[in-house]
């Protein structure tokens, strides 16, 4: 019997409908990722455009988060994970032996699914990245700027020294975004940043993404297709570790070329 996935994807078939950008900030070349001997990402080649929002969508287990974590070498901390192929960051090989993953993660920040502020004050949370990276300038000034940019300053300016754990879930997530912004990364990776939040807090995160994309490249993993449709400039649909279709969000959602993409976005699958 042929190896077929539930959507009829034939093993080894080349992905179609893949868009390529000029001057991408991130680019993968036939990237495959393995956990021990299990191949979870299959030869993905794609480009992430600069100062745009790119969404990765797909059913659970499609490898969206794994791919996202490959962009800032967070998979390195999983001992059994390894990869083949290339990831280029501003044209340079991200996985070259001389590249320090610690420096990569300062330039490619990450916001996680569940808000994960440190059990420290609001100020110290945002200042953390500046301090550990030995920022030479005025830390207080950068903290304020980051909180402004994360649309949180007005809410926390009088409680900077209070514990961050006292903030609401939505505030905590915006604090995590401020924490990531404070070290001035080029790219911010967001792994389902609003899945633990209510619709109002989600809306504020989405507004915030639109504001900061003028200065930063955002890659977001989301299960929420409306969220992808609302926020992303480009959308990539993944399934079973493969990139199925990638293009402008409007096109993906209104006129997908691949029947599997259509099946997923119309809710018939996934």
């Amino acid at each position: 019997m042929d190896k077929l996935d539930p959507l009829g994807f034939v093993e080894g078939e080349d992905p179609r409908h893949i868009m390529v950008h000029d001057d991408p900030v991130l680019e993968t070349e036939k990237l495959s990722i393995y956990y021990a001997s299990a191949k979870t990402i299959h030869e993905i080649s794609m480009t992430i455009p600069r100062r745009k929002i790119t969404a990765l969508i797909g059913p659970s287990g499609s490898g969206k988060s794994t791919l996202l974590r490959a962009f800032n070498r967070m998979n390195d901390v999983i001992p059994i994970a390894w990869c083949e192929g290339n990831v280029l960051f501003n044209g340079e090989k991200l996985y070259a032996p001389e590249v320090d993953p610690v420096e990569v993660r300062r330039r490619i920040g990450m916001v996680f699914q569940k808000p994960n502020p440190f059990p420290k004050s609001v100020f110290d949370n945002v200042a953390f990245g500046l301090r550990i990276n030995r920022y030479r300038g005025d830390i207080a000034e950068r903290v304020e700027a980051a909180l402004h940019r994360a649309a949180l300053w007005e809410e926390v300016k009088d409680r900077l020294q209070d514990s961050a754990l006292g903030l609401s879930g939505g505030q905590q997530q915006r604090l995590c975004i401020a924490r990531a912004l404070a070290v001035e990364p080029d790219v911010i990776l967001m792994d389902e940043p609003a899945s633990a939040l209510d619709p109002i807090a989600t809306g504020r995160i989405e507004d915030l993404m639109q504001e900061i994309k003028e200065n930063y490249t955002i890659v977001i993993v989301t299960h929420n297709m409306q969220q992808a449709a609302r926020t992303a400039d480009y959308t990539a649909f993944m399934n079973l570790g493969r990139l199925i279709e990638y293009g402008e969000t409007q096109k993906i959602f209104t006129n997908p070329e691949d029947e599997r993409t259509e099946a997923y976005i119309t809710g018939r699958f996934g």
């Binding site: 967070m74 001992p79 996680f112 994960n116 059990p119 990245g129 924490r179």
Partner: protein, 296 residues
């Protein structure tokens, strides 16, 4: 198919709710009796000790050295010996235990060797304390030439409590949510920075609690210290870690072993002092943990 049909037919139950509840009630009372028995036994012991010894606990008792005459005997040398010994036990076992825990949790590769080491540490926690006494006698007293000193005793007790310190520290470190580590690494912190600024401060109250509970065990240990030759009659307090020493449980044992009733009373008084020291340490552990956790 069979599932579908069975869902259609009415199900027959032998409900007997009173009977099922009765078993619950019986079980409740059995468990309560087990708890009550333990508490009552402890209470009887405590009351007996207090009746015998409470009258003898005084500043004189705390301030006097042992004597041939029970009415003049005091516990000063044993109390100071315990404080010296437990203090050095803490100084030795804290860095070793926490260091080993950090290595095993954060750095050690997850392979069979690490698993063998972790299993053996857990096993070491169950080794009879007299075995540590033999080890201490051979290694610290004789081979290292420390003699029958506070340091030799503390080193022996440190080995004895080390497994407890390691395991409780490991648990405290493991309890730090992975999301915190990810957040640290994700912002460009090195593994050591993540550990130093995030993981260890959060784990510290738990590590401290484990440490104090380990020392509470050390404070009551007798056998290994007798083995390495802690004396039973000492008329001075240690003034350096190389001095000879005795500790509270040895002094208590020594008094209790004598035939005269007067010594039995001061043995009971000694137990009261030991219990107070123990409860104080446990209370300290709770207070420190609560205070440090509130700061987060």
């Amino acid at each position: 198919m069979s599932n579908a049909t069975s869902a259609m037919t009415a199900l027959e139950f032998d409900l007997r709710p009173e009977r099922r509840r009765l078993w619950g009630t019986i079980f409740l009372w059995v468990c309560f009796a087990a708890t009550a028995l333990a508490v009552v036994m402890l209470a009887v012991l405590l009351i007996d000790i207090l009746r015998q010894g409470a009258a003898r606990v005084s500043m004189d008792f705390l301030n006097s050295y042992p004597s041939r005459f029970p009415e003049r005997a005091g516990i000063k040398s044993a109390l100071f010996g315990t404080m010296w010994t437990v203090g050095f036990t803490g100084l030795i076992s804290f860095p070793l235990g926490v260091g080993a825990a950090i290595y095993l949790e954060e750095y050690a590769p997850r392979n069979w060797l690490t698993r063998v080491i972790e299993t053996n540490i857990a096993n070491l926690a169950g080794v009879p304390s007299i075995v540590y006494g033999v080890l201490g006698l051979a290694v610290f007293v004789r081979a290292m030439g420390l003699g029958r000193s506070v340091l030799a005793g503390a080193a022996t007790l440190a080995l004895l409590v080390l497994p407890v310190v390691i395991i409780s520290s490991q648990e405290a470190i493991r309890a730090v949510p992975p999301s915190i580590r990810q957040a640290g690494l994700g912002i460009g912190a090195t593994q050591w920075q993540t550990l130093q600024h995030l993981v260890l401060p959060i784990a510290f109250p738990g590590i401290l609690t484990g440490m104090i509970l380990a020392l509470s065990r050390a404070i009551g240990e007798t056998a290994p210290l007798i083995m390495i030759g802690a004396l039973t009659f000492i008329a001075f307090t240690p003034s350096s870690p190389m001095d000879e020493f005795t500790v509270l449980p040895i002094q208590i044992f020594n008094w209790a072993a004598r035939p005269q009733a007067g010594f039995h009373e001061i043995a009971a008084a000694g137990i009261i002092v030991l219990l107070i020291a123990l409860l104080t340490m446990n209370a300290l552990a709770i207070v420190l943990r609560n205070r440090l956790q509130k700061d987060l």
